[in-house]
Symmetry: C2
Subunit: 355 residues, 2 copies
């Protein structure tokens, strides 16, 4: 089904960029979860051979990026830009982890929605004709995130039921230029490149989110902070593209967790859409019930590794054909929390389709 | 002079986006400096009516964005995206300051190079045909930056000669779609819109920087950290576009300061280019000798307010016709500094021309 060229908050790409390579690397706990077999690499050293948690997270990014580029069958010299981000202050994991890549870099921050933001910008760069290949990448690390946002690990604080567990991992995607419609028409035949793209997953479109603030102040209940932002983006996506929820095989949020899920379902229902059948949340899925993670997984690595480890594989295999991927972010910092601010949410939708 | 379509790290836009509006707001100290008369607004309340330094910085962004949109003669409903960033952990000034704008947001971070990054992404979005109008904006605030990166203000620490003073201010630019070459050809006449663009400043191209790490570890000497990154981007810009330094009326870095300036001039000279005649640094310019700011101004507000307050006005008046604008960033955080890491630099070049 075709989509309208430009909705209010959405873009439907003329020549949807192809996902030509992807890679996921996770920590031991994520490897022990129900999706362990799907991830490309399970790293058992929590410091990844580094000296600090931040360095460890940077190394996860470097490895995920290198692996995704290999999977795309190209080299890092072929990558024109990286669009990268993480949760740490001043994007320390990206800034240090990707320094050796020697590739022009756009640093991005959208809290745990960052994978949606980086994919959106990367897709515009490729569809706009500015690059052949762009890497979109994000990461998070349980220990660096606890240090950044919550308590020292040694303090051993109790975690309320609504709290989530930051995923240790990084996911990277190589977005590549697809065959242009005009090229195909000129040649009056499907080129070999077009044949090679058959069955590949493409970024068909994006729906970019706004900051949504419902005044929730609980940094241990980020699902509640983010659910309205996710709800607004999902509804706007359906409106802009003229789709019903049934169009998608799956509508997948980043890390709303169990509390956020219920709020989202209700929010979307109040706008006239029932997404119960399609709905899935990376944060709820990534850990097993027995793994003691309260409301689920979170962090911008959560949706990134579920995308690159599981979702893209399900699309490539033809188990699913159309997915609305909606990473969700809670915009807070240590400082904003200590100053008593609310935690606004943001979410970015990415339409992934098997062609 | 035309430029090559795609250099190694550069883009020459097919239909260069027009700067249809811009605005600068600065603090009292910046208002008292040699460029005081150029800034659109001088805010004498350091907290901008807010309760915290972070809130103050957010309010600067909100005001700069609103003013730039007014200057473009449009309303915030006409803006399709904002590309925004600041220096604070988790982009607190943008996340809170721009929440009320109700516009889809891409948060970006490139330390003090962020204005170059946000202009680059915004220009690609507009030239790529994804938006009519996009706002690129950044800010910094002396007090929020000192709190984030250095010492509590009340501690009254001494500042070494190589240290810079973070500029309090925000600069916003509205980038708008220009008349497309193909449209003009079809109509066989210059449309009224093209006439309206005559004499306007456009983003002709960009050169996107990589992370450059020469191992400098001194967070009180960020000019030295950033100079090689600026040098590499300037040289790459000249190579990619096939220009000599004389092509530009000015080559303007963000905040290298007095120490960084000398390193840059030498760095570029070693590569075969003499930029002494064209060179200017926003950080050196923004404060007067008597203002006791050591090596100069810094912060992503520094290049942003000099761009929107002074540089664009000089271009619009025809005093200059071609400027290479190179905001420069030092990629450090409190955590990376305390862990003994070096301070890598990054810089992004933007080619501004009067058409």
């Amino acid at each position: 089904m075709s989509c309208k060229q430009m909705g209010k908050q959405s873009i439907c790409f003329k020549n949807p960029p192809v996902i030509s390579g992807a890679a996921s690397i996770v920590g031991e706990k994520e490897g022990e979860g129900p999706y362990g077999e799907y991830f490309d690499k399970i790293e058992t050293d929590p410091k990844v051979g580094g000296e600090t948690w931040e360095e460890a997270e940077g190394k996860l990014q470097e490895e995920a990026a290198s692996m995704a580029i290999r999977h795309a069958g190209i080299t890092k010299k072929d990558i024109r830009y990286m669009v990268a981000g993480d949760l740490l202050g001043q994007l320390m994991a990206s800034s240090f982890g990707l320094a050796e890549m020697d590739i022009p870099l756009f640093g991005v921050y959208g809290a745990c929605s960052t994978m949606g933001e980086s994919l959106g910008i990367a897709a515009m760069i490729v569809d706009g004709g500015f690059a052949e290949h762009v890497v979109a990448i994000t990461s998070s690390h349980f220990a660096s995130a606890e240090k950044q946002f919550r308590f020292p690990l040694g303090y051993g604080n109790q975690r309320p039921k609504a709290a989530t567990w930051t995923v240790t991992g990084s996911g990277a995607v190589v977005l590549s230029r697809s065959v242009r419609k005009e090229e195909i028409l000129e040649k009056e035949q499907i080129s070999s490149r077009a044949r090679a793209e058959k069955g590949k997953v493409k970024v068909k479109g994006i729906t970019t989110g706004k900051i949504v603030d419902y005044g929730v102040k609980d940094n241990m209940n980020m699902g509640a902070c983010m659910a309205p932002a996710a709800g607004e983006v999902i509804v706007q996506n359906l409106v802009d593209f003229g789709y019903k929820p049934e169009y998608y095989d799956k509508i997948i949020t980043g890390d709303l967790g169990k509390v956020g899920k219920d709020i989202l379902i209700d929010f979307v229902e109040a706008k006239g859409y029932d997404i119960r059948k399609q709905y899935m949340d990376c944060g709820i899925e990534i850990y097993g019930e027995e793994q003691n993670v309260q409301a689920g997984g979170s962090g911008c690595g959560c949706s990134a590794v579920m995308l690159t480890g599981y979702i893209l594989k399900m699309l490539e295999r033809g188990e699913w054909n159309r997915v609305l991927f909606v990473p969700t972010g809670a915009l807070l910092s240590q400082v904003s929390f200590n100053e008593g601010n609310s935690v606004p949410g943001i979410a970015h939708g990415v339409v992934l389709e098997r062609f």
